[in-house]
């Protein structure tokens, strides 16, 4: 049976639009914040080229937002399954500790270091996924285990030391640049492209959304719900490990106590700002990246406005409240009721 190619095209166009419609809110929030800075923060948009590389506040935001963005991408898949991964910060620390230890102590080859760090993240993700999908422990509790224990594991790996390294190849991950932009930006873009392809060109995306929306119905439809959930946590673990590598490379040290500290909270916030609901179901990878950029821009703005770090959490909290309000069915219902003609 032949399909009408026009109908097909318009169908695809609609789907694209429907996806884009969800990006309006995070994009709008980011635009508002940038507009604020354009008006009140001198030099915010100043960008210059030095040694074939871009420098400026915006570039810093992209650079430092990349780590959060990568963690948020993995978190998106987990949240789509109506789960959450609190251990990503600890996994960053473990992966960083493994990488630094392999470089310094074992003088391992660079590919081995990369593989070691990412495999660490994979193992951590599989552990979380196993607890959640097989043992059916609530995601918050299951990932809390590694969140709490993870930094201790990282300490064990580094023997309780902060391992510093000046290895040029490791330093290149955060310090290098490609097409004028810092390498972490490229890595985040690559992670986005890879995950977007993997979820939308296979049926993984459909399965994640189905499991997150109604796990029982998905199981009854013959779906391997446990496998899907396991995969989501595994991806989140690998993403966290990649972010951990960038972190080690950036500060040139593995700090078990502070690497990725509280990143899980920012990542969850980024995902939620990006339009993916904590109740699971539909997810938006691009939205999560926009959410991460928004958070990074907010942080940077407060820094440049000399807001002390001690009170910087307050504006962030206000943003969280606003986002939660927008997602609350009660508030949405009231807004819809007001819009509806009497």
């Amino acid at each position: 049976m032949a399909t009408d190619p026009r109908a097909e095209r318009s169908g695809r166009g609609r789907a694209l639009l429907a996806g884009a419609a969800h990006l309006i809110w995070p994009a709008l929030a980011l635009a508002l914040l940038l507009a604020f800075n354009a008006a009140f923060t001198p030099g915010f948009f100043h960008v210059e080229i030095r040694d074939g590389r871009l420098y400026g506040t915006l570039v810093d935001i992209l650079n430092h937002g990349s780590r959060l963005g990568i963690v948020a991408l993995g978190m998106t898949l987990v949240i789509a399954t109506s789960g959450v991964d609190l251990s990503v910060g600890a996994v960053m620390a473990i992966a960083g500790a493994v990488a630094a230890t392999m470089v310094v102590r074992d003088a391992a080859s660079f590919p081995a270091v990369l593989a070691g760090a990412l495999a660490t993240g994979l193992a951590a993700g599989l552990w979380n996924g196993w607890l959640v999908s097989r043992l059916r422990i609530q995601p918050i509790v299951a990932t809390l285990v590694l969140m709490v224990a993870g930094r201790g594991i990282a300490q064990l790996v580094t023997d309780g030391l902060i391992i510093t390294t000046n290895d040029p190849r490791l330093a290149f991950i955060a310090g290098g640049s490609l097409l004028g932009l810092p390498l972490p930006v490229t890595l985040a873009a690559a992670a986005l492209a890879l995950l977007a392809l993997a979820t939308r060109k296979s049926s993984l995306g459909l399965f994640l959304e189905a499991v997150g929306d109604n796990e029982t119905a998905s199981r009854y439809a013959g779906l391997d719900a446990r496998g899907v959930v396991l995969l989501a946590y595994a991806v989140a673990g690998v993403c966290a490990a990649l972010a951990g590598l960038i972190e080690v490379s950036y500060i040139r040290a593995a700090d078990a106590n502070n690497a990725g500290l509280f990143v899980e909270l920012d990542a969850i916030l980024a995902v939620v700002i990006g339009g993916t609901a904590l109740t699971g179901g539909r997810f938006y990878l691009v939205g999560s990246l926009l959410g991460a950029l928004f958070i990074q821009t907010l942080t940077k703005t407060m820094y440049m406005k000399d807001v002390s770090a001690d009170v910087a959490s307050i504006p962030k909290a206000i943003v969280v409240i606003l986002v939660c309000l927008l997602q609350s069915p009660v508030v949405r219902g009231r807004i819809a009721a007001r819009r509806r003609p009497p």
């Binding site: 049976m1 399909t3 109908a7 097909e8 789907a15 049926s203 959304e209 009854y220 439809a221």
Partner: protein
């Protein structure tokens, strides 16, 4: 203040009426759950409250126990008008309830559970010795001898049930409501419970007994109230209402000989059965049921609520594991351990609770339709978008699914159309056998007729259908063969011309072995 305990010695001497509810009504959005129902319980009687799904039993109980507020009507307890606003108030008034799922705290001791929330204190400290003494006294009233220091979670369900009753009695109850108390008990445990119930009745308590086991009703109940579709059908002396009459009242069809036999050209193709289950069992759910479905045959599972209909479907589809018995598909023995296995063997299942277990509400009609087929193909062999659209449009067309577009979220469709989406999901996988659990429940007349016609078409295409329905009329219309269940067992198999509502009711009502 605490109400005075019922005068146990002199219960019969006073006015026998304990509870009088008049014209109780309750509506929920879109449903009139209870419509002007009268309900009377006497002192010193066991009163069975009977009705099928949606009859209004649980709504009635929730009104009496203060879980919901009534819309209309009045309730008198001991001659006094009452209007409990919470279960706690109802308990203080003397109405205690023991629910099917024992709602006690498993990690506390028996004594603590009995005393929970009303511990005697001195100077703000709990007097534990007094707590234990009261617990022992409460148990003694039931003539039970249990170690009150034991942790409750370690006791059997039956003991937990009895502790729940003891707790209810410790509240100085006049009316005790037991909601499906026997559904997780075995025969001995049930007998023990009945002993206690009779003892309490003889002591003057009014007991409301909700159950779906007919045999048990006739074992202990003095009187029976039947509800159907939120209305009162009648109040009867148990001794003067035959089982057959009771079943007829519950399902709303009078026993009659004149019903025209419907078209019987619905026998299967014969030969090797598509599905053959032997001695299918699962503890507490299904007891040694034989069942087979031929190609081109609609087999019905008839029986009252809780008779094991849905449980059989769940076993066949791999949602629950059978503890005993075997399943063969097209003559080959198979092991079905998960819905995935079942789908691989060509089975399909639309669950009874469409909203909770069937649809994926926020995904589109198209995504819901392709879900099972895509699940069978696996993650990597994605069905192209074009093919998905084509499948969705075809089934929307064939099944006449009324939806604004294939990309509409399925939650916004009507119940009938959601059911059709579920059928489309399975038809896309070209199944050999469809297990349909209450496919027309909560669906308007028009869509119902369409689904019934569709079932007949599926049969015509040579597929097998196992149909579960609480509507006898529907089963008799659709099925060439009916397996009748009662109390988790198969009690009859009706074929061809023998399929009739009368025969089903007779089979259900016939005395236990």
């Amino acid at each position: 203040m605490t109400p005075a305990p019922p005068d146990l010695a002199d219960g019969a001497g006073r006015d026998a009426r304990l509870l009088e509810a008049r014209g109780l009504s309750k509506s929920f959005p879109g449903v009139r759950a209870l419509d002007r129902v009268d309900f009377n319980v006497r002192r010193g009687e066991i009163h069975a409250l009977m009705g099928e799904n949606g009859a209004g039993k649980s709504t009635l109980i929730k009104l009496l126990t203060g879980v919901h507020a009534r819309d209309e009507g009045s309730v008198r307890l001991d001659g006094e008008m009452i209007r409990p606003a919470s279960p706690r108030q109802a308990e203080a008034l003397g109405i205690s309830t023991v629910y099917q799922e024992v709602n006690l705290v498993p990690h506390l001791s028996i004594a603590e559970n009995i005393g929970l929330g009303r511990e005697p204190t001195r100077l703000g400290l709990i007097r534990w010795r007094e707590v234990r003494r009261r617990a022992r006294a409460a148990l003694a009233r039931l003539e039970l001898d249990l170690d009150v220091a034991r942790e409750l979670g370690g006791c059997s369900i039956a003991v937990q049930q009895l502790v729940a009753i003891a707790r209810a009695l410790d509240m100085r109850a006049k009316l005790l409501i037991l909601d499906e108390p026997t559904s997780s008990l075995d025969a001995d445990e049930t007998a023990e419970l009945f002993l206690v119930m009779r003892r309490l009745r003889d002591a003057g308590l009014g007991i409301v007994f909700v159950t779906h086991f007919l045999d048990q009703v006739y074992q202990v109940a003095d009187r029976i109230t039947v509800l159907r579709d939120g209305r009162l059908v009648g109040e009867y002396e148990a001794a003067s209402l035959s089982r057959l009459e009771l079943v007829g009242r519950m399902v709303g069809r009078e026993f009659s000989a004149e019903r025209a036999a419907p078209d019987r050209a619905k026998a299967g193709a014969g030969g090797q059965p598509l599905l053959d289950a032997q001695q299918l069992s699962r503890r507490g759910a299904v007891d040694r049921v034989d069942l087979s479905v031929q190609r081109g045959e609609v087999v019905g599972l008839a029986g009252l609520l809780g008779s094991g209909r849905t449980e059989i479907a769940r076993l066949l589809f791999g949602i629950d594991r059978a503890t005993h018995g075997g399943i063969a598909i097209e003559g080959r023995p198979v092991r079905i351990r998960s819905p995935r296995d079942a789908v691989r063997h060509g089975l399909a299942f639309t669950p009874e609770n469409r909203k909770a277990d069937g649809i994926v509400p926020h995904l589109s009609v198209r995504e819901n339709i392709v879900l099972a087929l895509q699940a069978r193909q696996g993650i990597w062999r994605r069905i192209s978008r074009a093919r998905q659209e084509q499948l969705a449009r075809r089934f929307i067309d064939v099944l006449r699914i009324r939806t604004p577009s294939p990309s509409t979220p399925v939650a916004s469709l009507s119940g009938g159309n959601q059911q059709k989406v579920l059928l489309a999901r399975w038809l896309a996988t070209d199944p050999k056998l469809l297990i349909l659990d209450e496919p027309t429940r909560g669906i308007d007349i028009g869509a119902r007729a369409e689904i019934e016609r569709l079932i007949d078409e599926l049969r015509g295409e040579g597929r097998g259908v196992l149909l579960i329905s609480s509507e006898l009329e529907e089963l008799v219309r659709a099925c060439g063969r009916l397996v009748v269940l009662r109390d988790r067992r198969k009690v009859a198999e009706l074929v061809g011309a023998d399929v009739s509502e009368n025969a089903v009711m007779e089979a259900i009502a016939r005395h236990g072995d």
